[in-house]
Subunit: 132 residues, 6 copies
């Protein structure tokens, strides 16, 4: 259950409604997921978050599918259930296969294991890894 | 500083030395980084970790460069300084560009922000994201 | 679902019951939330936790509303659903407004983003920030 | 040590230099801390991050000092050394007292303890905390 | 709800079915919990994870009950609900008492509190703790 | 470097000095580690933290060595360098062997891996694990 009510289109401030219009236009879909309906209480944060997301997840040097895999990896490490579901759905929609998702999970798990081993052992960074 | 001494080749048990030989052969390089020299106190964990890493980071359905990006993403979310440095170096060695690394960081940062917004708002998962 | 049964007043040890009496008296309310009913299995931890909470969240140099905002921020970063709900409720009860809560969330999200960017880039601490 | 070189003013792209000019003008200080010099490799992320930070930490409904306390709380929970130092310095510069910082730490520690107790016990959210 | 369907025995690939047979034989029980049914989509990761778990949690120098307590501690710090429930059940099955579980929780909570206090204060490691 | 100055005995308030006297008496050692010298700025938090630690880590139903292992596990998962060093030293002082420490690390790493796999797959808790 959310800590604020999820707002229907006709319950939110006009500035928030305008952001939802842009989300719909950008995604070419009428569906707007719950995250934006929770943020809609705060038009300023809604707009800034959406504009940032559009810029970061938009065209760049990394494949959009790879960006979704990275997003999932971070969301798993942060334990964000909603984000894992929404970005796994987004990854599938962009063509990421089930085999790729399972391999992603294997890498995440492996990284978690060696991260914690390294931290337990407090391994010092090798000189060769240093940026000059 | 580490919580155990980093072992030189001639200080470690023969089973650990054998794992280092395989690391060198697999990577076609004489250099063995500190992580393995710390783990070398425990040949069983050293062998299992190396064999697992070889399997997970070896040939699969994801590009080896993408796997390094995922590894970095998890390491950043877990705050593992050593892992960030070693896998950033590995990514560069595999041909990941500086522009790709910066875009990776932007995605990690964006994911962190929306992860925490979602958690703060406790947004419920949309039905449409459910796997049937 | 909890890993232990939540105890009703007449099911808990008398020492735990005494702590609940103090919770009720301090808060001037008959209602005791689930956290204390789970801890009630262990009177020693129940008492220590309650006494500590009373001291930390009691009168000091920070406004009680600010302390609730800090509590929520930490709970979000730790991903503690229960804590987010209970302290959001406590914040509202103490007069924190919806606009303040949304601004809190924006700050939490922003901090998460720059925290991860800084960690990804392993930015060294500027000398000027050092305490002498 | 950083994963990228920190850029001096005359080493960065002009778009990044322009952002630094705005940082200097906004803060009325010539000093620009390392975070921005690391981000300067990526003018797009540098600009977006600075614009977002200016908006989030700028005038709103919460006291600027309180926003710094929240920023520190999140940074501690995420284990971001640089962020803890830079925002502790910022808090002091804005007039946060040593006593307030110590009380902040006490609240962070207390929240961490109850967060983990709640998670260990998997305490279900009380109905009374639900938003309708 | 899972991000993949949980597979019944007759839905999974034969290599996954073989791992489940080994889980049943090793545990001397017909019951196989959901974790393995989700991993069963990926026979390679299923096998590696099961073989690693068998080795790590099998006979060694630490009491099997102590290993379960450690597993719970890590799972709480990572906020993994499923893992907390499954390893709390495993701990009870191995004879860990309710009093031991409550004391475990107290130690986890205390560690979380001092961890965050130390991080907030950025306490430097005492020379006397260094390994030579 | 710390965010506050570490206080020598003659620089701290008398109430803090009294707590250090109790630390010395309890541990039968003149040495007082940096954590307490940082907390000494705030006698109230210093006293509460020390009293809590004495109670939690004092005699109970778990072996003191096991409590140190749990403390290390939590500190690793939280990425607290100081805490890892101080509690690894404490564990060694109480008789924990190097083999036990390495096995602890293996369990921590394994738990981290399965924690993240479970989170990635969002595995639902089996009914059989539920407490009635």
């Amino acid at each position: 259950m959310p800590t604020v009510r999820l707002l229907a289109d006709d319950e939110m401030p006009p500035e928030s409604r305008a952001v939802l219009d842009d989300i719909r236009a950008t995604r070419r879909s009428d569906f707007v997921n719950n995250f934006w309906r929770a943020l809609a209480h705060d038009p300023k944060t809604l707009r800034r978050t959406w504009e940032s997301l559009k810029e970061v997840m938009g065209p760049g040097v990394l494949d959009p599918k790879v960006k979704e895999l990275i997003y999932i990896a971070v969301s798993v490490a942060h334990g964000c259930e909603y984000c894992i579901h929404s970005h796994t759905a987004a990854a599938r929609a962009k063509g990421v296969t089930e085999a790729e998702l399972m391999e992603l999970h294997a890498v995440i798990g492996m990284a978690a294991e060696t991260n914690r081993l390294v931290t337990a052992l407090q391994v010092p960074v090798d000189e060769v890894f240093q940026v000059r």
